[in-house]
Amino acid sequence: MSIIEARDLERTFAVRRRAGRLRRERSTVHAVRDLSFSIEAGEMVGYIGPNGAGKSTTIKMLTGILVPTAGHLRVAGLDPSARRTELARRIGVVFGQRTTLWWDLPLRDSFELLQRIYRVPPATYRRNLDRYVELLALGDLLDTPVRQLSLGQRMRGDITAALLHDPDILYLDEPTIGLDVVSKGRLREFLRALNDERGTTLLLTTHDLQDIEALCSRVMVVDHGTLVFDGPLAGLRSGGGARRTLVVDLVDEAPPIDVPGASTDRVEGPRQWLSFPADASAAPVVAAVAAAYDVADLSLQEPAIEDVIRELYAGG
């Protein structure tokens, strides 16, 4: 049986709008509609979509914070909103933009309190804490109040907090937002190991395609409240026809660069913008440019999720 099962999930919000001096109009907005998917235990799924597409609404329904307007939803065999506190013991939630820790307390106190709240057996608690503190390099930070932690440190603290009770499912909402490259890499590595060793089901929302690339075998793309894509990441890229951009800074101004596999979109003094299909490797393009021109600097831009999705629509 699937660990998460959603069928024809729908969620509407009543929006009041001012219409005239005193009159207010009520209208209904569909945040999510006809959403159907199922996730097997142990899967790592990326859930992406532009802002306001319905990602957060979905996560809130899956955790029991929001009651669906219609449709069928089971998480770990439970109806989330009806049995919220029961479900809470089976899931872990990491909100990238806000902390689940207590702002004024040292990390250690927050963890101890969570142990009591989730009634984690002392032996399990010790084992998990030692493990995550080591893996996430939190050892020196345990006695620091949460408010004094950097964003990356806090995020590691939050992830530890979400895992102390050995949840079957871990939801991560923008877990890498605002993190530097090294922290991002470490975090991804940690999540992959968690899934490998414990079989924890992961559902993460993100704006960073690289998160998905590193972690998820499966992507669900939501737009305007419905799934527009559900499948492997490669399928999304090649099907969508999105393009990556290579920004080249030459030593001197030159006519548009001409290398196989890429086209030059823009020239501005010594700087040129080359684009090539997102599913192709950047290596041959970079090599060809470096071989034929005097290059001062290079940088690579991934297609934004929004572009991929726009392409997806245009292609589909």
Binding site: F13, A14, T57, K60, T63, G64, I65, L66, V67, S81, R84, T85, E86, A88, R89, I91, V93, F95, R98, T99, T100, W102, D104, L105, D109, E112, L113, R116, I117, Y118
Partner: protein, 273 residues
Amino acid sequence: MAEPVPARALEPVRLYGRIARMWIRASLAYPVSFWTMTIGAFFTTALDFVGVWILFGTIDGLGGFGLQEVALLYGASGIGIGVADLLIGSVEQVGQHVRTGSLDVMLVRPVPLLVQVCADRFQLRRLGRIAQASAVLAYGFGAVDWSPARLLVAIGMVLTASVVFFCLFVTFASVQFWTADSSEFANAFTYGGNVLTQYPLTVFPGELVKMLTFVLPVAFVNWYPCLYLLGRDDPFGLPAWLQVAGPLPALLLCGVAALVWRAGVRHYESTGS
């Protein structure tokens, strides 16, 4: 896993204790700040009654009540709101939890929401108010001609007062689920109810007293039980049984508070942040 029923019923209390204890420990990390705040709270509220005392320097009675009798009323109401404020005063913050989204975090924890909201930022320094009110009440007890029945009513009075303010806090804080921030509106009823009951209700018009009996029943916090303790007839000619009826409105208010809170949470769950 079937747990014995009493253990399950006490679970929220146990969790409340855990969270509160952690906040106490956190506040004791700054002992100077803790003690100045606690002693400060004691003196600010202490001065409050000094005002009444000074008033009695120029008058002999207030609405037919002497200083010691007014102290009895003042102390009972003060302990009631003090205990409620200590235990669940943080419920006022619910609007802020809605605005900042911390309510979502609480909703994904396996603890009843009310327990989490009430225990959040538990402040032991609120004991200052209770200490002051207890001192005033002890002085007021000197006016009572004690009997076993009166002792029982006195205990019942303190409990009723706490429960009534407790319910008012929860009920009016729940309004913030709809309005996001209306703590001032709530204060009008909670602290307002406290201020009204610091004086003998004989200083107010009869209509107001009826309202404080049947609509916003803060008169049961101290007025009716004190009439019993002092062996007085009801100055407004209301039936004598009201004097010992306190627990009844307290229970009713519990029901109302639970309903309004539930409706508030339900409303939140169906609108999100």
